[in-house]
Subunit: 387 residues, 2 copies
DNA sequence: TTGAAAGCGCTAACAT
DNA sequence: ATGTTAGCGCTTTCAA
């Protein structure tokens, strides 16, 4: 009963109007929940809608409302060259190098076709992105907020100059009303491109160079303070830290916050080893730290992945965690909970932050006049076994 | 020069036509690359486009062409209840239980707002999805194929009956021209819902109950055969297997293929322990196997995650891999390469298969009359250290 | 080869 | 409270 008219073109407002014995406008009002419609007529219209199996045509609606009811979720990289070890605000590509995914043909058997020919070039950026727990959390938060509002994100990757232009043009076409941008690199040119084009967007994490654009971020320094205080409260006295990349704000802030707090508590000089937010780099940093300071009793790693690497090295070197050396991570990603021992860590509420990003964007779309706003979230300490 | 007209409404075909001194129709022809346009006029039009900063309005175009130039990428679950341990064609949620992500408020500081309020209910399904390397590979393959064609996937999750209806209605509205569906559960009702509505879709993996719909799949039995032959060729004689869930075709086929090959080579009775495609279940299965058959010298696990779990147990029980016990996995996911020792495994070319899915859908959209086609890919053996 | 004109399905004044 | 009407920006016959 609802499908019969499909073949001869989907039912339109006109069809419904005819069936209900009213005008198109009235049907439109009912469908869009505009007041001033007689309850009786409303019922009649709803019946007609059911009978005809009517579904509003989105293109037609968008054409007149001038909104797509759609937003883009953009994962953005750096330059045109293969992106260097990527670095997100508080998370990044995991250690797993992952098969390059370029081999294996897969001869089509049934359909008599060949494999679609996967080109590994584009894949590597995406492989890195998906290897990190961070991305999934962002999507979770965004979808969670958007779905109840009937909108679904369009997934885009912008790791090359061409891809960035495509994002801008996608938005300019009105295919999406705005963009949620997650940058994996400090010098990402995309935010500027978007705002220069006068398009609405919200970023995850403050951009490295100032751009007049809304963003959501974490009070990284406060998080580092939490970690420092926990280590101190635990009685640790020979404390070191594994820092993240210092060209990204999150890396800088976590280090600065940690140092400040330690200094304030009488520890002005803290051994620092640099890492790249990966498990491997965390392990390597831990090795260096241990070589120079064999008597360490506490370590703060600027993210969980590095903390996991550190824990492995500590165990291999015969240190018990947390008895001999306490370890604190950052992010509270999946890696923290599955670490042996489970990681005490500074929680970054990525899902909430991502949802807030979506909310800021929708707010902005609703009232474009209002000034850009950003929101900074407070981290919390999650106590598990490692400290 | 390209931005000036934005404020007063984006430039339209009319504007370009005026600037070029031709008609709208001609501009349209040039833009859509229709032949029969004087080269001189073509140039003039292109100039006018550049000068005005024109971008075609997608809604207007869609309205007349009746295509959205967009497709939905749907990750589909099972019923309305919290999905049971999910199971994909050859992959599934990893062992990591992941923080429930419901705590931590994150008081807005800058914008004076509260956190967006993440509701953990919807998140758990997505958390499982992202914990699995499989999903990222699918997205990689799909985006890789679609992006050069100017189309970007809309990401949707369909783990409840409501969400499934939304997917169908999204498609019916013409918001997307078709769907790429990845099911995480055998009894998924979505494929039937979609085809019943007469909407174009392609599935990853053959549906558990027959539905008249295109899909892409792997010759799982052949893959299992490859694993069996490798174990035999290596000289293993006391061989067991860790099977996946038997309610999903991939689980069944991998077990059947392995058994058949072993039987054909004179090993009619193979010890089997059941797993759930997770690392933990793989470890548990290995324990059981070892308890009953301490003299095992070869194991085939129906996916990499379980193989990783098995390797861990073997090491803990003092068996060297591969010297004492050879291990073969399935999928060639990230987990395989990062396993200690690196896993010999049966490769499922997920990226290629996902790209082929997209290709099948686009083909179908281009010529709706043509019959549904499916493509079965051949697995290959990837030899690493574990066997 | 180009232009004129119709119309895709919908919303939003404006009239009633 | 409801109907009439005028487009939104584009593609596409149909004429010229």
């Amino acid at each position: 009963m609802t499908e019969d008219s499909r073949a001869a073109g989907a039912p339109t407002l006109e069809d419904v109007a005819k069936a209900a014995g009213v005008s198109r406008a009235t049907v439109s009002r009912v469908i869009n929940g505009v007041r001033n419609v007689d309850p009786v007529i409303q019922a009649a219209v709803r019946d007609a809608v059911a009978v005809t199996g009517y579904t509003p045509n989105r293109a037609a609606r968008s054409l007149v409302t001038r909104k797509a009811d759609s937003i883009a979720l953009v994962v953005s990289g750096a330059g045109d060259d293969p992106p260097p070890v990527a670095a997100t605000a508080g998370s990044t590509a995991s250690a797993a190098s992952a098969a390059s995914a370029t081999d294996s043909a897969g001869g089509g058997r049934n359909g008599g076709r060949q494999g679609a020919g996967f080109d590994g070039g584009v894949g590597s950026f995406m492989t890195e992105v998906f290897a990190d727990p961070f991305f999934g959390r962002v999507v979770t938060g965004v979808v969670n907020f958007l779905r109840p509002r009937g909108i679904h994100p369009v997934l885009m990757f912008a790791e090359t100059s061409l891809a960035r232009d495509e994002v801008v043009s996608y938005l300019r076409q009105g295919s999406a009303d705005g963009a949620l941008v997650v940058s994996t690199h400090a010098e990402d040119p995309l935010p500027a491109l978007i705002t220069d084009a006068g398009l609405p967007a919200v970023l995850y994490a403050r951009p490295a160079r100032p751009v007049r654009i809304s963003y959501v971020d974490l009070a990284h320094q406060d998080g580092a303070r939490l970690a420092a205080e926990r280590l101190l409260a635990r009685g640790c006295r020979r404390i070191a830290t594994i820092a993240g990349p210092l060209d990204v704000p999150a890396g800088q802030d976590r280090l600065a916050g940690f140092r400040d707090t330690m200094a304030r508590h009488g520890h002005p000089y803290i051994p620092v080893a640099g890492g790249e937010f990966t498990e491997e780099s965390g392990a390597a940093a831990m090795e260096r730290l241990l070589a120079e300071h064999p008597d360490l009793d506490g370590v703060f790693a600027a993210n969980d992945l590095m903390a996991v690497g550190a824990c492995q090295v500590l165990r291999e070197r015969g240190r018990r965690v947390p008895d001999d050396v306490a370890v604190i991570g950052f992010d509270d990603s999946r890696a923290a909970a599955s670490c042996r021992p489970p990681l005490t860590t500074v929680r970054q509420p990525v899902e909430d932050m991502a949802a807030e990003m979506a909310r800021l964007l929708l707010d902005r779309l609703a009232r474009p006049d209002r000034p850009v706003t950003s929101v900074i979230f407070e981290p919390t300490l999650v106590r598990r076994a490692s400290a």
